[in-house]
């Protein structure tokens, strides 16, 4: 199915593209659908190209020799939607696995075509630059959290991000619904589900939040921020 200009512009990375540039991208971009749980690409695959998540969520993760998984990020339409930029330039292998968390629709551009367009059109080069910068800043924040903080401040940081992205101000505080399971949350924070349960219990005892399954009410955002 051809990708419309409107569909492409719904991905913020393409929002500022000129019509002529969008037309070029539309000629080389293809749509791929994956069911929930499917592997989009594997760590150590040779770089095939760029993926843009249009619908659903894709997690980028690494697996330790022990089988333990660590989720580097969850890509979605409005946040880190582009995958595959890291090995695009050196043609090396993908540094992580990508798995569909829901039924997803992804736009795909083959590596060589992406590089050709980036070499000819500044809009595409700027898109790639922005993707690399966004991922670098995200990973730097992630590594500093892992190196310098225990799991509680990392959980708070994630909850604050979610609150900003999808929190609703209500009489009780800021309410939000997590769209990840406890296991996935633990994998995102580089810890275990048991530690996450303990962290939630600690935050509830401190009366800064109320957690009922995936439904979270942040009772005091100011106090939560001070606990990082």
């Amino acid at each position: 199915m051809p990708v419309s200009a409107e569909d492409l512009r719904s991905i913020f990375l393409f929002a500022q593209f000129e019509d002529s540039e969008l037309d070029l991208v539309r000629e080389i971009i293809t749509t791929r659908d994956y069911p929930a749980g499917a592997l989009v690409f594997s760590q150590d695959d040779r770089s095939p190209g760029l993926w843009f998540v249009r619908r659903g969520r894709v997690r980028l993760y690494r697996v330790a020799p022990s089988g333990r998984e660590f989720t580097l990020c969850i890509a979605r339409l409005y946040k880190l939607p582009c995958l595959g930029a890291c090995p695009l330039f050196d043609g090396e292998r993908c540094p992580a696995n990508a798995q569909a968390l829901d039924d997803v629709t992804i736009y795909f551009i083959a590596r060589q075509r992406a590089l050709e367009i980036a070499a000819q059109y500044e809009g595409m080069a700027r898109l790639l630059a922005r993707v690399l910068a966004n991922h670098s800043r995200y990973l730097m924040r992630l590594t500093s959290g892992l190196a310098l903080h225990c799991s509680t401040p990392r959980l708070i940081d994630l909850l604050l991000t979610y609150a900003q992205e999808r929190g609703r101000a209500t009489e009780r505080g800021i309410e939000l619904d997590l769209d990840v399971s406890q296991n996935l949350l633990a994998s995102l924070l580089g810890t275990t589900p048991q530690m996450i349960a303990q962290d939630f219990a600690r935050l509830e005892r401190a009366q800064v939040l109320d957690a009922r399954g995936k439904h979270i009410v942040i009772l005091s955002i100011a106090r939560l921020k001070r606990m990082i």
Partner: protein
């Protein structure tokens, strides 16, 4: 200080692929700047102050959260410092601090941005370098999750051995150029914990720690533990 010659610039791996005319343009824009030991070159979160490439010496790339510091890397002659602000016009993504006396090549931010975006070969090398650093960051993040402190100590020692180790009859010798704090910060743990891990490796006969050097006595075992 005087501007560098195109020959000097060509010898920098980061710039080696540029054509002579591109190097001439770059040479006209570049100044050299000297920094004293421990002097901050730029701070994380501050507006982009320019493009820096190490000419002589070493620079620490640091992230700070509250009063804690993570040493991301120590870069050396030929390595560029922060390139990310040139890709997204954002602030510096980490702090840079001179480790010993340092001389850097420097290009003011606007000039650097124009040069990068007006010189396809330079843009390409910037994107390549950031892509490679992104790969390193992904590995660093997963090492912090998957590997315990001892495994991370082993990995850092092996990386140092590969970069600057001197083969000796009983193993590979590393000069102890990092302070205990720097070593711990590079591993992502407290100084006492890193030191305890290192001493444990010594007790097990994998390394020998002396005042000015560490000898890797059993590289195979070190690699298995990393």
């Amino acid at each position: 200080m005087r501007s560098p010659t195109t020959k000097e610039l060509k010898s920098i791996p980061f710039l080696a692929h540029l054509r002579a005319t591109e190097l001439e343009t770059l040479a006209r824009a570049i100044e050299t700047r000297a920094f004293a030991n421990r002097q901050i070159i730029f701070r994380e979160g501050s507006p982009c102050s320019g493009l820096y490439i190490v000419k002589v010496g070493q620079v620490k790339l640091i992230q700070t959260r509250k009063d804690k510091e993570q040493l991301l890397a120590i870069v050396r002659a030929g390595d560029p410092l922060d390139l990310i602000p040139f890709l997204d016009s954002g602030p510096h993504s980490f702090s840079a601090q001179a480790r010993g006396a340092v001389t850097l090549y420097f290009i003011p931010p606007e000039t650097a941005r124009d040069l990068i975006w007006g010189t396809p070969a330079l843009l390409s090398v910037v994107l390549n370098t950031v892509g490679a650093r992104l790969r390193t960051l992904a590995t660093l993040a997963s090492d912090l999750v998957f590997k315990d402190v001892t495994a991370r100590v082993c990995k850092i020692l092996l990386e140092q051995a590969q970069a600057e180790g001197m083969p000796r009859r009983d193993g590979i010798c590393l000069k102890r150029t990092l302070s205990r704090q720097e070593f711990a910060s590079l591993i992502g743990t407290a100084r006492e914990v890193a030191w305890r891990s290192l001493k444990k490796l010594e007790e097990e006969g994998v390394v020998r720690i002396e005042r000015n050097q560490i000898t890797l006595l059993d590289v195979e075992r070190l690699a298995a533990m990393a």
